[in-house]
Subunit: 478 residues, 2 copies
């Protein structure tokens, strides 16, 4: 081996190992760790072991899988705490992914990562395996290139983000002391636009439910009983139409009462973002028109307004052809996104009451919560966020912008509540990455820039003293 | 073999072969001839061959499978025309069945016929394999017991009744001369109550559609796009709620304009039927309450009023857990039952226009017709219907009642239109037979009484001369 191939800094290591990083990412992406599907349980565990193996190989001092209750997916924990007096960074990512369906819309199979142009295509490419893997590689660069890190690091990588599982909640709640950190670094968000370094300052919460409607005691022939027997699908349609109007307004009593609008300054900053509604419609959505509340801008609608969405119906007949059945039972999956300062438990109660009220005669409905999380707002006024801005600007050479995300990352509220550490949401996804959709991708230049940006972030934090920053804690909806 | 075991009449043959008939029926029921599911195509053919084999074995002079277009299921045709001067009976049944799902609600598997108490349980037990098989056995009794039939017989047994296929339409339209008969005997209906001999005089028509709604160009993440991207499920819910109100009224412009109410005499006859709404609700439907148009009686609602029913939704996510997707495309299966004198093609146009009108901005909808058929009314004022009453009364020893059915048997309108023969709808199902539902059954005493009643019908018709009855032709909606 020639001398020039031996890295003597993290950044040397990064530039010498780009191919190895890509191969490693592909191996991670090949594991179909779909946390919501029971048939993938062993794959999810395989992904956890993959992450733990990476942490061990790079030289983290302590690495362990933290098991939850039966049926839960393990947390991967790793720590390296040999930088006394320096800040401690709690690093979060998740190794689980969304289901890949509809499968037939993928150009290449979702768990056979394919590089086309500057992108890598696979389920989880950006959400969140690609972004979790870049965190691993950023740390590896220091440990392998310099033998040490400029800061203390704790990894907490979960496998239930996409399913809203309770393992991480329990662990964070009961082990706040072990997870104690000066800042939490979450890499599960996106950039506002290509080449525009971005920090995310707000996330929506989520109340995801299943509404079951029951009519007759058994499926009935729609000829023999149609006109007199209640139809659970008709009931669900009436309930859904009653709870959200064509104007996009959600008609659940009390639903909007705690909604806190963004302040003028934040709205003005959004106005300055390079956002074109027509391009958003054409390139990202691709529908005939946008929908929603007309008196709010599109960015307000997706970042600062709550939603009501139907994700699927179960029951009856969905095969080819005609089956004339009035099903006994039908189910709708309905979720609501919440914005500061809405309370998910209160929303669940309001929703349940509104469903009951809209349920027609002859039908009995029940509401089951599958996943709930609080909305969060992250303060930008602290040294850890300022350091993150600087790190991003060193790599991207542009001014960092602040945006919110309409998505939900339950952990952020949890960290704010239990660890009292500020949360830095540094993400490298792009708006057209199609997370949760077929042909999900990650822009490979962002994969490499992400590694470097996190490397710079550690370097800058390494110039600071533990506990030196004024902690402006995360604000959140509960 | 002792002398007393050799039948010397059809009725002897019937009583000596009850066990063999039951075994034969079980063999027929074991064939999963689900016409709407492509994966059962070969099973459907197997059922056609089973019927043809039975016709050959009993000694029908001509037996053939009539193939339709590629992908269609064959008709089984058989004839025995050696009773010159006597009436010709065209016998109709179908060998295809509805899909068995939901499978987990069956007490025994749908294609493993099981006798419990006086019933046989299987998909198709009553609709229509059991009733088709009793027609075969009634004819077999004469051919095997007496060597000849008192009437001329033509069998036309189809395999696309449950799917509204076009094979029989084409054949009847183009081969009316071959199918020429004095009366058509259809055995695919039910009795009003146990032990109450029944002839059905009206059937509803059907327009079965798939409504597809398209929003975005691909599935979207409901966090990142929820609030601005149109949701096809929300659109379908709004359309469905717009097209049918909670009062049961269908709000499709022009929909009711051709609806012809039953006359006073028919309504008065329905009033005399032993119908108890509470029992119907409790024993047959099993819901908390009935639904529908309050100003019509339950029998009017299911026999003489049109319907609008949702049978299933396709698209999005329906697995366990939470997937936060706004689907690009969603589909609803929606059917309407028609009553005299509604026109299915006109209804399809009205429905399509109403769907378009109720489609919210950002969504494109298309309507596809899967199956359409006309409503029919059968006149009771002819000698062939009177003979059927008498045949039933000989076996059941009670006065025959007339009822309508809310179901659809497309062939009845077709026979009326092209063959100009009166149609006798003699059925032996019971109201709790759960056709199209899990645990479909056939009451075995009715299976045997059905064979005898059809035997008596042939005997009575055999006393008549071909063409002697005044034909009061079937009236129908087109």
């Amino acid at each position: 081996m020639e001398r020039r191939d031996v890295p003597n800094s993290a950044f040397d290591y990064y530039s010498l190992n780009r191919e190895a990083f890509l191969e490693g990412l592909k191996n991670f992406l090949r594991i179909p760790s779909v946390s919501t599907l029971p048939e993938h349980k062993s794959d999810v565990r395989r992904a956890a072991e993959f992450v733990a193996g990476e942490l061990r190989a790079m030289g983290m001092a302590t690495v362990e899988l933290i098991e939850g209750k039966a049926g839960e997916h393990p947390l991967v924990y790793g720590e390296w705490l040999e930088a006394p007096g320096k800040p401690t960074v709690l690093i979060y990512g998740h190794y689980d992914v969304q289901p890949p369906d509809p499968l037939d819309e993928w150009k290449t199979p979702p768990f056979e990562p394919a590089v086309r142009g500057e992108n890598i295509y696979a389920r989880g490419a950006v959400d969140d395996k690609g972004q979790t893997y870049l965190l691993l590689k950023a740390v590896e660069g220091y440990l392998k290139g310099e033998g040490r890190l400029p800061v203390n690091v704790k990894f907490l990588i979960e496998g239930e983000e996409e399913v809203g599982g309770g393992n991480i909640d329990d662990y964070v709640t009961h082990h706040a002391e072990r997870l104690k950190a000066d800042v939490a670094l979450v890499c599960d968000t996106e950039m506002f636009a290509r080449d525009l370094p971005t920090l995310t300052t707000g996330l929506r919460g989520l109340v995801y439910t299943e509404v079951q409607a029951r009519g007759a005691a058994q499926d009935l022939h729609s000829g023999l009983y149609g006109g007199a027997a209640p139809n659970p699908f008709q009931a669900l349609a009436e309930i859904i139409a009653a709870l959200k109007g064509p104007d996009g307004k959600i008609r659940i009593p009390g639903f909007y009462k705690r909604v806190k609008a963004p302040d003028r300054e934040e709205l003005a900053a959004w106005e300055r973002l390079p956002f074109k509604e027509k391009e958003f419609l054409k390139k990202e959505v691709g529908a005939a028109a946008l929908s929603g509340e007309k008196r709010f801008s599109v960015l307000e609608r997706i970042w600062a307004r709550p939603t009501f969405e139907v994700h699927g119906f179960r029951g009856g007949f969905t095969g080819e052809g005609a089956k004339t059945v009035i099903p006994a039972v039908a189910t709708a999956k309905i979720s609501m996104r919440l914005v500061p300062e809405m309370d998910p438990r209160e929303v669940l109660r309001q929703f349940t009451a509104a469903v009951k009220k809209a349920t027609p005669k002859g039908i009995r409905t029940t509401v089951r919560a599958i996943s709930i999380s609080s909305p969060t707002l992250v303060s930008t006024e602290n040294a850890y966020v300022h350091a993150a801005r600087e790190a991003l600007e060193r790599v991207f050479r542009k001014k960092t912008v602040y945006m919110r995300s309409g998505g939900s990352i339950p952990i952020v509220g949890l960290f704010g509540r239990h660890l009292r550490a500020p949360c830095v949401l540094m993400g490298f996804g792009l708006p057209d990455d199609r997370l949760h959709s077929p042909n999900e991708k990650f822009h490979l230049p962002n994969f490499y820039r992400g590694i470097e940006a996190v490397g710079h972030y550690f370097e800058i934090l390494g110039t600071m003293t533990a506990g030196s920053a004024v902690h402006a804690h995360a604000k959140h909806g509960e």
